[in-house]
Amino acid sequence: MTNYILKRLGQGLLTVFLTVSTVFILIRMAPGDPAVSYAGPLATSEQLAAVREQFGLDRPVLEQYWIFLQQLITGNLGQSYSFQAPAMQVVAERMPYTLTLAAAAILLTAVVAIPLGVWMSRRPDTGREFGVNVLTIAGQSMPDFWTGIMLLTGFAVLIPIFPASGFATWGGLVLPTITIAILQIALISRMVRREMTANFAAPYLTVARSRGVKNSVLTWRYAMGNSAIPVFTALGTRFAAMLNGVVVVEVVFAWPGVGSLIVRALETRDYPLIQATVLLTALLAVGVQLLIDLAYPLLDPRVRLGKAATA
């Protein structure tokens, strides 16, 4: 167990390290000069050189990488060029907003998608189920930025129930959450339907039914019990993905999260800020993945960590 956790931690940290290194290389490979965007288009070449020296951009790339590695270990990725504050601190301040939004969205998804998927699997191929099925296809076909603008116009401008942007009140959470959840509900409910249908067709369920087990117990204890791991994994993976910033939705709703931060950091070529964002979000994503794996034995007593066969 401990060995397993240590091994997974090591793998996770390796992934994070490779990710931030890739980003480091990509940034240095790319055309464009952060000094120009910092000092402005009118800066003289002396000013530019001064800026480069201040940020350490005049040194050889390998030396920059060495400095970067040292910063990684201390957890201090340097000053953000545009915020004039430690980059990690800037990102950490934005993180709670993204976390709130992601948690709300995944909660709404679970509450709607699981019952919906179960309902679909109980009545497969009926007219009504077909209708819902088509609706979920539509749900996964709508571009989220478009859905967001539509909801914004409908429920913040035309019928002003919710605030249009930002996170001043809890009401501001409603529209972005719904926007994100529409796609996730479509994907997860289809998945629940697939899993449950497969379980309903399994022999053990026929046996249980012939022994007179109640329908609700069949559905929630038997079939759901066996669908729990894949469904939980899917929800967790989606949540981890959202921590990387629900970029588009954050931009549409002017949500002060990590997603809108990275867009700004890219525009200004704020190297430390880009790297801090990538580092922190990758760490969180890997951490969530690990927690999901550790939760498997709780969902299914047959699972023993570390001894899981890779199917």
């Binding site: 055309p31 497969p124 539509a138 989220d144 930025f145 603008i149 990387n244 990275i262 890219l266 990758a282």
Partner: protein, 310 residues
């Protein structure tokens, strides 16, 4: 037909010519059976999916031929005209450009990027997935690790990063979307090849003295390619959505024509006064992506009748 002709002629001599079916299953039962309903659902998905897709794709292909104003022609006297005025079917935008023309020409760019990206990611995914599944060993380890690593990467963020750093040109965007999508194809191909390589025909080919690569290319890949291409079709829908999200964030191609996401983000500021500038391009995207998704679903659920003849 086999049942009717197989009945011996003599046995039906004493009974009426129209013998009732010996089975208690009536035609109504068959029509209400799950399998039939599933087949019908698949059929409807295919039909509706084809119609939706063609409704968008045909005008896009014909954009140059249709009698439309130039997509970049600005007429400041005809700004923000609502749909159906002065021959502007979708109305005009804030610079007096014909919205329908913009959507169709932008659609050409979006579709080209989507198709190219899907081709590239399909090729990479099938080759690497098949290699990982067939050869196993270190090839499998490397490919699977890369797949896993990419799963835990901040995807859209990385795409934005690459596009922001290397410029929003069509090749860069195509490449970026292809890289984002290949894992899905690779994972599926790998799992199918794992099953396929244990089948007797592979041993037979090996005994006949075929090289491993020859077996893979000539015998295994043809057996999995059909299902793999089905996934590729669904990826096309995702590619179009991904491209529109990138261009919405300003990381889309600007030349020769702005693509769908960009058109929507342009119209965002005028949404309260000119609803059509956002709503209509969005509906075009939805129609097309719903169409492609329905097609993919229908093709997957379709009962495979051809097996009988083969």
């Amino acid at each position: 037909m086999s049942l009717d002709t197989a009945t011996p002629a003599g046995s039906s001599a004493g009974t009426p010519a129209r013998q009732p079916s010996p089975s208690a299953v009536t035609k109504a039962d068959i029509a209400a059976a799950g399998a039939t309903r599933r087949r019908n659902a698949a059929k409807w998905k295919l039909i509706v999916g084809t119609i939706c897709t063609l409704l968008v794709i045909i005008p896009i292909i014909l954009a140059q031929v249709l009698p439309l104003p130039d997509a970049n022609f600005q007429d400041l006297g005809a700004r923000r005209l609502p749909p159906f005025t002065d021959g502007h079917l979708f109305g005009t935008d804030q610079l007096g450009r014909d919205l329908l023309s913009r959507v169709l020409h932008g659609g050409q760019v979006s579709l080209t990027i989507g198709l190219l990206a899907v081709l590239v990611s399909g090729a990479i995914g099938i080759i690497l997935g098949a290699a990982a599944g067939y050869f196993g060993g270190w090839v499998d380890t490397v490919v699977s690790r890369v797949l896993e690593a990419q799963m835990s990467l901040p995807l859209l963020m990385m795409l934005l990063l690459v596009v922001a750093l290397f410029g929003p040109s069509i090749p860069v965007i195509t490449f970026v979307i292809a890289i984002a999508q290949w894992p899905e194809v690779a994972r599926l191909t790998r799992s199918m090849v794992l099953v396929e390589r244990e089948k007797p025909y592979v041993s037979a080919a090996r005994i006949l003295g075929l090289h491993r690569i020859q077996i893979l290319i000539q015998h295994i890949i043809p057996n999995v390619i059909k299902q793999a291409t089905l996934v590729v079709l669904l990826l096309l829908a995702q590619a179009v959505l991904l491209e529109s999200a990138l261009s919405f964030l300003g990381a889309g191609p600007q030349r020769p024509f702005a693509t769908w996401g960009r058109i929507i983000s342009d119209g965002q500021d005028y949404i309260t006064t000119s609803w059509w500038m956002v709503t209509l391009p969005g509906l075009v995207i939805v129609l097309m992506v719903v169409g492609v998704n329905l097609l993919g679903d229908g093709l997957r659920d379709r009962p495979r009748r051809k097996k009988k003849g083969a």
